[in-house]
Symmetry: C2
Subunit: 544 residues, 2 copies
């Protein structure tokens, strides 16, 4: 069991009940479980033409998710990938068909044709007006006499649904349906097959390959093609849809076949919009899961000419969360960056002692790179040393343009430099630290107190306190001791850093989720860096 289901035989009723329970009362079902699984509009009064679709389950939201005003009147749901029985279809017809009659919208699978067909005959014997149309939009096998019905069926649900809502007659809706069916083309591509509940996934598609033209039940595709990018994938799909795309305006329906992530679907949408094969695709429905194939990692594109007579029907708003609306494609609306992003460049100045201190700090951090990385492997991703050393190298390289003679400006400039060169959290923490220190120094505080003000600010913004196993554990005692000289600061920093090895639970930063056993006995790498810095500075500037 690797799916969120209960007993397999209850799967479809469970899922339909979930849909009903969360429909806000808009949906009802017939009392026919387990054999008759029919979802219908709760508000249906038989005053207009009824639209019934359905088929095997496993394609959600199709079809029950499209039951509602302006789309389907009822959906007849079979077991996963299995046609509903003729009895179930008949129950749906009898339940929703009034004097205006009903249209059965059937995807072209033998089981569906037969069961819907038999039900239609039985219903006609009751004197009901029943028409049936068969959707066969799959172009995977162009010379197939019985193309399958796939996601393009949704175009018809929407256009016929809008017509029925406007009280168009059954005869006219059936004509519209035939015309629409003649104009729909669909094709899918997938990187993987689907997992039928209770079965193992077929491991058919090798890495680096995709299957083009596969069916929505996992039927093997026409061909396996090289897969190396979303761009190639979309161009292969659009190429199959062929020349017709150049002839007039088209709407595309971009369907998620199951487990393709929203991120990937958006990338595919971008490829569709920008592809040289997209021709005159001017409108899009999706990307969205519309006609899925369980958890298939794939997508399909359906297209139809966007004739004026169908545009309003496709655009008509419906209150169905599964229907994503049709939008006009347009190039991304790009606005200029606002002013104020670039910090004001400081005017360079020289101070030999300041330069020496900074260079000493940078040398110490560069030397500590391997040890700090090693330590960080215990509680993080092993890059603390490299992150600090990279920043140190960059800072040394920037000293000639630094305002070394003006500590207020220097603090701020170091903050800006580090936030740009370090990246990640560390750079930002130090930018806040030095920025606030510069502000404090400008307000007349001495150096140690200014640095302490910086520390206070990063604690506020970052949420870390002393004892949380961060660099604060070394920096706070060091800055408190700093007025008494670097040696005292170094001793305090070392004590603080070593104390972090006894803290088995980090309360801030990445180590928060690391188990205690990895932490006890190892200093926090940030605190260790602070201790090494103060110890090294004390030795370099004041002697041991």
């Amino acid at each position: 069991m690797n799916q969120f289901i209960n007993e397999k035989e209850h799967l479809v009723p469970n899922a339909l009940d979930g849909l009903l329970n969360t429909s806000g009362g808009t949906l009802a079902r017939l009392d026919g479980y387990p054999h008759i699984k029919v979802v219908l509009r709760a508000d249906w009064d038989k005053s207009k033409v009824a639209l019934i679709s359905g088929g095997g389950s496993g394609h959600e939201p199709a079809h029950a998710g499209f039951v509602g005003r302006g789309m389907l009147t009822a959906a007849v749901c079979g077991e996963v990938f299995a046609s509903p029985s003729a009895d179930a279809v008949l129950a749906a017809i009898l339940a929703v068909t009034g004097e205006s009659g009903c249209l059965l919208i059937v995807k072209n699978y033998t089981g569906d044709r037969l069961n819907f067909g038999l039900a239609a005959e039985r219903a006609r014997a009751f004197g009901l007006k029943v028409e049936m149309v068969v959707v066969n939009d799959d172009i995977a096998l162009p010379d197939l006499p019985q193309p399958r019905g796939v996601a393009g069926t949704l175009f018809l649900h929407k256009i016929a649904g809008a017509a029925a809502e406007e009280n168009v007659s059954l005869g006219e809706i059936t004509e519209i349906a035939h015309e629409v069916i003649g104009e729909i083309s669909s094709i899918g591509m997938s990187l993987d097959t689907c997992t039928v509940p209770g079965s193992q996934k077929e491991d058919r598609i090798a890495p680096g390959k995709a299957e083009l033209g596969l069916g929505i039940h996992g039927e093997a595709g026409v061909e396996q093609v090289v897969f190396d990018s979303a761009q190639l994938a979309m161009s292969q799909v659009l190429e199959k849809l062929g020349d017709r795309l150049g002839s007039e305006k088209h709407v595309a329906l971009l369907n998620n076949l199951g487990s393709t992530t929203p991120l990937e679907m958006s990338v595919l949408a971008n490829e569709l919009v920008t592809s040289e094969y997209a021709g005159n695709i001017t409108h899009i429905i999706g990307p969205a899961p519309l006609m899925t194939s369980l958890d298939m990692h794939g997508f399909s594109v359906s297209v139809m000419p966007l004739k004026d007579k169908w545009k309003a029907a496709l655009e008509a708003s419906v209150e169905l969360s599964a229907w994503p609306a049709m939008t006009a494609l347009q190039p991304a609306n790009v606005k200029p960056l606002p002013d104020g992003l670039s910090p004001i460049k400081p005017i360079a100045s020289e101070n030999a002692r300041t330069r020496a201190v900074i260079e000493a700090c940078c040398d110490l951090l560069e030397a500590a790179e391997p040890d700090l990385n090693q330590l960080d492997l215990k509680s993080g991703d092993g890059d603390t040393g490299s992150t600090l050393a990279t920043a140190a190298r960059a800072l040394k390289g920037s000293l000639d343009r630094m305002p070394l003679a003006d500590l207020t400006q220097l603090f701020r400039a170091i903050g800006n430099e580090l936030s740009q060169t370090m990246g990640g959290s560390s750079g930002v923490i130090l930018a806040i630290f030095f920025g606030a220190a510069g502000d404090a120094f400008a307000n007349g505080k001495p150096t140690a107190a200014s640095l302490a003000a910086g520390l206070k600010r990063i604690s506020e913004v970052g949420g870390a306190q002393k004892g949380d196993r961060t660099m604060i554990d070394a920096l706070e005692p060091a800055l408190e001791a700093l007025p008494n000289g670097l040696k005292n600061a170094a001793v305090a920093a070392r004590e603080g850093a070593d104390a972090t090895a006894k803290i088995g639970r980090a309360k801030a930063g990445r180590a928060t989720y690391v188990p205690e056993s990895n932490l006890i006995g190892n200093n926090d790498p940030g605190a260790e860096a602070v201790a090494l810095l103060f110890e090294g500075l004390a030795q370099a500037l004041e002697g041991k």
Copy 2:
């Protein structure tokens, strides 16, 4: 490469462009790729409080999918699972903040806190009114001082969004936000981790296990629990959400963490609604992908008390396809089955010869079971023999209640019996066949012509013709020859059946997608069954 993406470094810009292109012009972005990835409302005029959220990508539709009137003003998007830079956040603030100010809605991750925090400080230096709130709804680790921000953040986007739309002041919205944050709780469960683009999925969760309380970046959960059903999974999640659910009315947000199928999500919704642990959950948002974790096969539940003051804001309609609306939970609306489903029961009657013919047919089909199964393995799923034999056994058992003396009623009754006992396509085909034969016989046609009328009907509904490699290839010539005696019919059926072995491409039924090499040299099992039947009958009733 096993994902629909292009170069990894272009992933997020590609996806955002896809979102923009298909937004129908409602979204814009700042001209800051690749470092500054900010999506904003195209129609924004800075006249109200701006709401900015964001964070690492990989959680789509959060947050860019929620940019629009009534929700967010802008989303700042980092790389996958990485905080955006402070510069990117500052760009967003500067681009959308007017005199009413802006609120930053930040999920509680150190990187996000720091970058949004630094940007807020920089923006304030420009004189802008900027507030920042931090969402920490994850209850996975109840004693964690810094709980993560996860899907419950969406509650805040919606409530603050509705308030901003109604021109509530920044101060009041910030107060509302603090209050909402204090009331949100979320927890997730997954059967698998997520696949970070360019990396392999971590194989951490054993079959039969689920991880409870894992993070939306694939951070390991608090515990691995036994997984055996959707019911158990949902009860474990709801138990964690605890006693508070019993105290007052709550709304639940049911979030798809990535690749959970719509079918599974509906099952989970049903479990949520019916669980004894659900307490006073009266409303639901979803099920839907709202705050995903790439392709994680899991779900999360977020809850908050549905206080009167927040209800209207949560209910307010927004034109965002990613937002599924809040609905009131209610038991499934179940309507009685319509009349007319049960066929009228025939009155039993006796006819010894008819009984003998039917019994002979049934015996023949039972005897042919293994051979027909074997043949069906070449082109189908190997069950033709069993399907027919099962139907034969059922038909023999039903003879005592059959109207054997009235062929019109008998044909119809056999049709009904087979459609109920055979199941699948075959049962329906034979129901149509015998139903139409009964109608023809009632209209005065002789037996062979009546059966031919049945054949014509199944050809119309099923779409198969002679030459399409179905049972029609044997049945049509047999029925044509039948007026000249059973022996002639048997010869014709055999010729027709054997001819199917030369048809390399099925044009109807399941064999349509089977490669030619499996078909050539093997008779179609349906046609073979017809031939065996006529041959056997000829021998039994007329002698060889």
